[in-house]
């Protein structure tokens, strides 16, 4: 290797490392706040959580050193091997792990407890990068596509078998990578829409305003918005007129319906109005498609029809096929059921913790919500509560901004990569961090369903910290080769 003259310490991306250190330190202080007991051990005592997190952080630096010392090619060469071993470990975990809090995801080796699922992320990312960068790989080929799906879904299924739904869902983040590598945006849009429609419909189901069921109305309005937006994007010869016509017509119809409701107090079901508007828009688009020979319009119609169909079939299955106790279970597992002693309680207390922080926060170790254990899982999944309560709006938005810079930095670095393997791996890392950020913070501030996944670098736990550290630093090691060659 004649190129390896440039020291790794000169070629590595120090900006990312700086962001990493900032987050690790902020995370440690948050754990101190979350696990501080009035009458208990000091912050540096290894039997307490801040103390043991300090040990995990220390060991992370050992890991980092090893990762950076290894040759960059090592990761590409051994990626399938690493992936295979991790899959075997995941399967073994299903059978070997004792049940802890309803899941079988922890391997207990002496005093050490490890969660293999946390290490499967980088392995999957490596395997996916290897697969997609192989010679002659085309995402559009059915065989290749199915191979990608296999790589993504194999660990996902194993983790589902361990009853760790949250960790399993993280693998959906790889679809962002597929999107970057050429998968149609419609697939992503369809997926995001399906999840959003499902959650929104469930969240507002059974809520009637006048004669209108809000769940359906909200989803239908979103469908109409997306339809209009797509029409706008797929305009023909820079002609925005069709989209404008739809916007004006939609607004007019809603306004008239609303006025009729106000003036004559006729109970109007706005779901019917919305369906009518969507139908009318589709007719208009068919007309445009035939007139201008732009078949994209037909895709939009397909999207609208499928969405509406999806909505009502979910409705039908949920309300007519499922038993009431199954309905409740789905809602509770999605964190939608307002159950004061269950998931609803957590979110409510976590909103109180964050909300009570105010603009400037209560100060380090001064949070009452978190210190008095009102927020369950406050040093793991709900760690952001401590940031919100003790550091206030300033601290928590700064944390979010650091995260955003970190992820965008990863995207920028990925795009700079000269090999497909490095780029795909880089995008995998960025996507996984992004997914964790969206779901974890969204859950804590009550925007997304309660899905228990950690906030990278903040949540307490060695496995998670090491998993994220390995994930990140393999990419930094790969990135460092840009300047070596």
């Amino acid at each position: 290797m004649p190129y390896k003259k440039i020291s790794i310490w000169r070629s590595i991306d120090w900006i990312t490392i700086l962001l990493y250190v900032i987050m690790i330190v902020a995370g440690w202080f948050s754990i101190c706040g979350a696990s501080y007991e009035y009458d208990n051990v000091g912050l540096f005592d290894p039997s307490g959580r801040p103390g043991s997190q300090l040990i995990w952080i220390g060991l992370s630096f050992v890991l980092i050193f090893i990762i950076l010392m290894l040759d960059a090619d090592f990761y590409s060469v051994f990626s399938y091997l690493i992936y295979g071993m991790i899959i075997l470990l995941l399967i073994a975990t299903v059978f070997l792990a004792p049940e802890i809090k309803g899941s079988r995801s922890w391997l207990v080796i002496g005093p050490l407890r490890l969660q293999p699922a946390e290490f499967a992320k980088f392995a999957t990312a490596l395997a996916l990068a290897k697969c997609m960068s192989s010679y002659g790989f085309k995402l559009v080929s059915f065989k290749n596509f199915m191979l990608c799906m296999l790589i993504i879904f194999l660990p996902m299924v194993c983790i589902l078998l361990q009853k760790e739904t949250g960790s399993a869902l993280v693998y959906l983040a790889f679809f962002l990578v597929l999107y970057r590598e050429g998968m149609s945006g419609y697939v992503l849009l369809a997926g995001i829409c399906a999840v959003t429609f499902f959650v929104l419909n469930m969240k507002f189901t059974g809520i009637l305003v006048g004669a209108t069921p809000m769940g359906e109305l909200i989803v239908l309005v979103i469908i109409q918005l997306i339809l209009t937006g797509l029409t706008f994007l797929v305009q023909h010869k820079n002609n925005t007129l069709p989209a404008k016509i739809i916007v004006v017509a939609t607004a007019a119809v809603y306004l008239v319906a609303y006025l009729v409701l106000l003036l004559f107090s006729i109970p109007i079901n706005f779901v019917h109005i919305s369906l009518g508007i969507i139908a009318a828009s589709c007719c208009f688009l068919i007309f445009l498609a035939i007139k201008n020979w732009v078949w994209h319009y037909l895709l939009i119609i397909l999207f609208a029809l499928l969405s509406v169909g999806f909505l009502f079939s979910v409705d039908y299955v949920f309300n007519e096929v499922l038993e009431p106790h199954q309905q409740v279970r789905i809602k509770v597992s999605l964190g939608l059921e307002d159950d004061p002693s269950g998931a609803g309680y957590n979110v409510n207390q976590s909103k109180i913790a964050i909300g009570s922080g105010g603009l400037l926060g209560k100060g380090f170790l001064n949070g009452t919500q978190t210190k008095l254990k009102y927020v369950p899982e406050q040093d793991t999944d709900f760690i952001f509560c401590t940031v919100g309560e003790e550091q206030g709006f300033i601290g928590s938005s700064l944390t979010l901004i650091v995260f955003a810079i970190f992820i965008i930095r990863l995207i920028i670095l990925s795009e700079k990569q000269k090999t497909a393997f490095n780029r795909i791996y880089g995008y995998s890392v960025a996507s996984i961090f992004f997914f964790h950020l969206v779901i974890n913070i969204g859950m804590v501030i009550g925007l997304t369903p309660v899905i228990g996944i950690p906030l990278p670098f903040f949540s307490y736990g060695g496995s998670a910290l090491w998993g994220f550290t390995i994930l990140l630093f393999i990419f930094l090691r790969l990135d460092a080769t840009r300047k070596e060659r």
């Binding site: 109180i352 964050i354 105010g358 009452t368 960025a430």
Partner: protein
């Protein structure tokens, strides 16, 4: 699909980084907006967090004590025990055993639990927070319960204090405390459900002085309701401030003696110290033992007293409006002198009554014509009727009868009649002095002294409280001024209301009082109240007999002693006891003797026995 994929050039795919980066920025922006809403705009979360974490424990101050003018302790605090209940912590227990221990029935137990849980009756209910299950358990029941308490999880004992009264007297003056109601809580946010406040008497009028200031201890409570210590080492705790004690101007021995004399009679005795306006005793009978309205028996006893036809809860001394009868004549005389209607030498004729109206109102036999001083001494009715006639009927003096009457009324008001004097006790009434407008309405504007002649002798539309009558005696004793009568002499560690040290001068010249005082002295030496005479003390007095449409006349006495440098003013009122001389005068004599000499002379013992043993009550109450 394949066709579309091929159109995606490498360049187009690279551009997808903007969409992905845009998505990151959008999500973080949404989160920051949401955080801004939660943390900066919405303020409720802070409150919720505080109510989660802080258990604010009230520290109750001890209530101020009450002493009499001779430093006898009258009212103090005794420990009592409330049975508290935290609903969440209750586990199944032997209900019957519990009920027997605290002396209640099973039905009462069930009802009490239901009442506690009823959000309408108990708005602050929470199953986490201690609720009062039973208050003021006796020391005996407390002892038994304390030993068994381990069997009843969720039940606790909270120490409280209750009031105790050393003497069974002066219930109206001392008053009592009771649990605050919804309206009290709305009017003063100092109180919360379950607090006590003064309900009557001094306990009520000096509530803010006596109660002190509650303290608070802020404890940290975790999600399981466990106390994790004091918030910031108790830096925000507030220690309770004990209530201030009061010294009353009341002489408890005198009060007790007055209550003894009026035993089995309906009436009042008010005695004041003219030089200060301090009330020495203020008896109103029938009365009750203030200890009846303490503790768990309070509700039952209060209902019983309330339904008593003799109205023992009614403080007649300041709340009853009686026709003052002849005790009104000194005030009339003062106005006549002041308005130059008469001179001390002016004499009017009296022929066993008031001649212009055919001998009505009637009078008893005495010489005629008669001047002011003997008219007071013999309580001549005709003299004061003549006087009123000369004052308001003469068009030379005032152009209209209304004008003359209004001047008369203003003088009366200045002497403390017609409106509450402002004593430091709640619910004082002001009696009644009619207005010219009232008569105009009543007689359609055509009236004269003859129409309203009964007011000249303190009858008719004129009403006064025994306190107001005593106040007239005080004013005459002082020869022209009075202090607002008050029952509290000193607030320990505090200041008295300055309005009690302001001299009030009625619109009568000082010199005019001498003639009235002389007449009152003569009434004792050789007039209507000879029985009030005491050896060695120049008692001055005026009897009264107040006509009462409902039964026998009320017997009244008003006076002061001694004639020079008076030390005490008194009014006595005995309902349905006939002439003033019959009961009110001997009672006043005994009271003055008790106060000025400290004991009853041997020759009056028979009188004392006679008064004590006489019952004058409505037939159905006997």
């Amino acid at each position: 699909m394949p066709k579309e994929m091929q159109t995606n050039s490498k360049y187009a795919l690279e551009n997808r980084r903007y969409i992905l980066s845009g998505a990151v920025i959008l999500v973080v922006l949404i989160f920051i907006i949401r955080l801004f809403y939660l943390q900066v705009i919405e303020n409720e979360y802070k409150m919720w967090a505080d109510s989660n974490a802080f258990l604010k424990k009230t520290l109750y101050p001890s209530r101020g004590m009450i002493y009499d003018r001779n430093n006898k302790l009258l009212v103090f605090n005794q420990p009592a025990y409330d049975v508290m209940l935290i609903m969440r912590e209750v586990k199944p227990f032997d209900t019957l055993d519990f009920c027997n221990t605290v002396n209640i029935t099973k039905e009462q137990f069930i009802k009490r639990i239901a009442d506690i849980k009823n959000k309408r009756l108990n708005p602050g209910y929470s199953s986490y927070v201690p609720q009062v299950f039973m208050n003021q358990l006796s020391a005996k029941d407390y002892g038994v319960l304390q030993e068994k308490l381990y069997k009843f999880p969720g039940f606790y004992i909270q120490n409280r204090t209750i009031r105790e009264y050393e003497y069974p007297y002066a219930a109206h003056i001392l008053g009592n405390i009771g649990e605050v109601n919804r309206r009290d809580i709305e009017q003063d946010n100092y109180y919360v459900q379950g607090d006590n406040s003064g309900r009557s008497g001094v306990e009520r009028s000096y509530e803010k002085v006596l109660r002190g200031e509650k303290g608070v201890e802020i404890l940290l409570r975790d999600a399981h309701g466990r106390i994790k210590g004091k918030y910031e080492e108790g830096r925000h705790d507030v220690a309770p401030v004990s209530g201030k004690s009061l010294t009353l101007s009341l002489d408890m021995d005198l009060q007790a003696y007055g209550e003894l004399l009026l035993h089995n009679k309906i009436g009042c005795i008010v005695m004041t110290e003219p030089s200060t306006g301090e009330i020495l005793c203020m008896v109103s009978t029938p009365t009750y033992d203030p200890n009846m309205l303490v503790g768990r028996q309070r509700g039952k006893n209060h209902a019983m007293l309330e339904s008593d036809p003799l109205k023992p809860l009614f403080d007649r001394a300041i709340m009853a409006g009686y026709p003052p009868g002849s005790t009104f004549k000194p005030a009339m005389g003062l106005i006549f002198l002041q308005e130059d209607v008469i001179t001390p030498e002016t004499s009017y004729s009296c022929g066993h009554g008031y001649p212009p109206l055919g001998g009505k109102p009637a009078c008893h036999s005495h010489f005629s014509p008669i001047s002011l001083v003997p008219a007071i001494a013999t309580s001549c009715n005709a003299f004061f009727c003549w006087g009123l006639r000369d004052m308001i009927d003469s068009r030379k003096r005032y152009p209209k009868v209304q004008e003359g009457f209004d001047i008369w009324r203003d003088h009366m008001l200045s002497m403390g009649y017609g409106r509450p004097l402002g004593i430091d006790l709640p619910s004082e009434k002001g009696g009644s002095i009619p207005t010219s407008k009232m008569y105009d309405k009543f007689y359609k504007g055509r009236w004269s002294s003859s129409t309203i002649i009964s007011i000249a002798i303190g009858q008719g539309e004129v009403l006064a409280t025994p306190l107001q009558i005593c106040n007239l005696a005080t004013t005459i004793a002082n020869r022209g001024f009075f202090y607002t009568p008050h029952i509290v002499k000193e607030v320990h560690g505090g200041e008295m209301d300055p309005r009690f040290s302001v001299k009030h001068y009625p619109t009568i010249d000082k010199k005019n009082y001498e003639y009235i005082a002389e007449g009152m002295r003569n009434a004792v030496t050789g007039g209507t109240c000879r029985r009030a005479a005491l050896p060695g003390i120049a008692v001055c007095g005026k009897t009264g007999t107040s006509e009462n449409p409902h039964g026998k006349d009320h017997s009244i006495f008003m006076g002061f002693a001694p004639y020079e440098n008076p030390q005490v003013a008194i009014s006595v009122f005995v309902e349905n006891a006939g002439f003033g001389a019959t009961y009110a005068v001997p009672i006043a004599k005994l009271m003055l003797q008790k106060y000025l000499k400290g004991a009853i002379q041997e020759s009056d013992k028979y009188l004392e026995d006679y008064i004590i043993n006489t019952a004058i009550l409505p037939r159905d109450a006997l």
